[in-house]
């Protein structure tokens, strides 16, 4: 059965994007922060959040392939469709990083070369391009911008290496997103088990690569905003966030498609299984959030607590609020079997924790880039809606390009009769 991307849906998503564009123009014009940091940080929050959803989809798809799981095959095209936003998402991230490289924003403090050098030639101080040096020579003075902690990280946090890493991550992820999609369409055409078995190998390769790069990418892109701070758990925390955000979108979109009559073979058991994932990964997110927080809180080492001090002092309600919302809503409401099979509950909880996880990304980015007084105004809401419109537009267009249920797959029949 083919999915029809109706004119009405296109119009609604375009309206969302229009709101986003208005918010961007209006926001950029009224943004009084240093180097338009507020505008660019918003680009990154939304750029990363929706990119992470599609990356979560790619990871989940690879997980299904590598484990040869059958239960989600009836919903495979939905996962695939969501993963197809990754190309647009990568483009937006590259624009954001490039803007940083060209000093259009100062979200990444370490991209400013002056913090890396201890000395500066006195004659060039105050000019457009001061001459920075590492060693004391005649005519050099102490560089007042020098930051010892950031300079110590310069072997890793320097622009050429950052760009090499970023392009490798994005390139390989996009390559696999394209590969899985192409092979899935090929499987529809020729059937058999050959593609299926080979997919397992590809998925295993992707998962190994992803296991490393999901961590390092979150260090490079998000943790380096709070340049002085570090946490080894951070990559997992970001990863669990992206996984659960994807599952929320996955459940909501599947329910919507089912409601529209597009997925006749999907029954309550499929939704129930997806809901179990959402429930479980909400716990994983909470577990990692709390593990990171508690160890830092307990040991109370000055260089570690900075991240939490600014968030608890200035964003207290948001900081504790998202923890309780993202934990307690799924925990209390989705605990019982019956609730997971009721689409009303799923939609309610899904929408609430969707906003919750957007705010989680917001709180990762904003205190580091804007300091203590970031706010949520028209720009934030408008841009979030705009990017949502773009995301759904791209995803729905991907749905419309292939049959919305797979036609041939070794496990299709098994999945269609899923009963739990």
């Amino acid at each position: 059965m083919d999915f029809i991307f109706t004119k009405k849906a296109k119009l609604i998503f375009s309206a969302f994007m229009l709101i986003g564009v208005i918010a961007m123009v209006f926001g950029y014009a009224t943004d009084v922060s240093d180097h338009h940091n507020r505008f660019w940080a918003n680009i990154f929050v939304n750029g990363f959040f929706y990119f992470a959803i599609s990356l979560g989809a790619l990871f989940f798809l690879a997980l299904q392939y590598a484990t040869e799981a059958s239960y989600m095959i009836a919903l495979k095209r939905v996962i695939e469709g969501i993963s197809q936003y990754i190309f647009v998402g990568s483009g937006i991230l590259i624009i954001f990083f490039a803007a940083g490289s060209f000093h259009l924003h100062h979200v990444y403090h370490w991209m400013d070369i002056s913090v890396m050098y201890e000395f500066v030639m006195e004659a060039t101080v105050g000019s457009a391009h001061p001459e920075y040096i590492h060693e004391m020579v005649d005519g050099a003075v102490k560089n007042s911008n020098f930051d010892k902690l950031i300079a110590g990280k310069s072997a890793y946090l320097n622009q050429p290496f950052f760009w090499i890493r970023t392009l490798i991550y994005l390139g390989v992820w996009c390559y696999f997103a394209n590969l899985f999609r192409k092979r899935s369409l090929m499987e529809d055409a020729i059937g058999g088990t050959k593609i299926h078995f080979k997919n397992m190998t590809y998925a295993a390769m992707f998962l190994v690569f992803f296991a490393f790069t999901s961590s390092t990418a979150s260090w490079d892109w998000i943790m380096s905003i709070d340049t002085h701070w570090f946490s080894t758990l951070f990559g997992w925390y970001v990863f669990s966030g992206m996984w659960v955000s994807f599952l929320i979108v996955f459940v909501l979109v599947s329910i919507w498609l089912k409601h529209k009559g597009y997925l006749p073979n999907v029954n309550k058991s499929h939704i129930h299984d997806a809901a179990k994932w959402m429930f479980a990964i909400s716990f994983l997110w909470t577990y990692l959030w709390f593990s990171q927080f508690m160890l830092i809180w307990y040991s109370n080492i000055p260089e570690e607590v900075t991240y939490y001090v600014i968030r608890i002092d200035h964003y207290k309600g948001l900081f504790w609020g998202i923890f309780f919302v993202n934990f307690l809503f799924p925990m209390v409401i989705l605990l019982s079997r019956d609730a997971k099979r009721q689409i009303g509950y799923m939609i309610t909880v899904g929408l609430i924790i969707f906003v919750g996880h957007w705010l989680d990304v917001y709180l990762m980015v904003m205190p580091g880039s804007l300091g203590a007084h970031a706010e949520i105004g028209f720009m934030e809401v408008g841009m979030a809606l705009g990017f949502l419109g773009l995301f759904l537009f791209v995803v729905f267009r991907a749905f419309s390009k292939a049959p919305i249920s797979v036609v041939k797959h070794p496990f299709l029949d098994e999945s269609n009769h899923l009963h739990i």
Partner: protein
């Protein structure tokens, strides 16, 4: 009913039993119980077993565990003998709460798991030393047995035997 007899029908395949149970129920037979070495998927609604309430039990045990753990730590660490560990504040419960969460979590899991297991054993009466109520030891290996009381639905033993034979049973026994 004076002839309250029990009929046991043995099968050598779970799917044969499941198909047979569906046929029998459609003909008005009510099946008291099924003995099987493993859970047969989809048998519960056929023979009219209600959804288990064990999950509710587990939730309540978990709540008890959470309450006991928090109350205990409040008494030990705040009221009775406040301790200075790593310079942490110790005068108020909420200031120490993050440190108490892992213990509260573990104790919740401990009580929920043990409570659930014990409830299960007591409800099924399969505690150590209790005589097994399983009529055929083979059902712990590779046989599947239905227990039927013909008096439950007013069918004679002969009629029932005829119906049972149609379902591919390998042994029908009356006890």
């Amino acid at each position: 009913m004076k002839d309250d007899k029990t009929i046991y029908a043995m099968y050598d395949d779970d799917m044969t039993l499941l198909a047979g149970a569906k046929d029998l129920v459609a003909k008005g037979v009510s099946i008291r119980d099924v003995f099987s070495p493993f859970p047969i998927h989809g048998i519960d609604p056929v023979i009219g077993i209600k959804q288990t309430r064990l999950a509710i039990c587990a939730f309540l045990f978990g709540l008890v565990g959470l309450t006991l753990a928090l109350a205990g730590m409040y008494y030990f660490m705040i009221v009775d003998w406040p301790m200075n560990i790593g310079g942490k504040p110790n005068n108020f419960f909420y200031q120490n709460l993050p440190a108490f969460v892992p213990i509260a979590f573990e104790f919740t899991v401990l009580l929920a798991a043990h409570g659930m297991a014990l409830t299960y054993f007591i409800r099924n009466w399969t505690l150590p030393g209790v005589t097994a109520r399983n009529p055929y030891p083979e059902t712990t290996n590779d046989r599947f047995v239905m227990e039927i009381h013909p008096s439950d639905f007013g069918m004679s033993v002969d009629e029932l035997t005829v119906e049972l034979q149609k379902t591919g049973t390998i042994l029908i026994e009356e006890r």
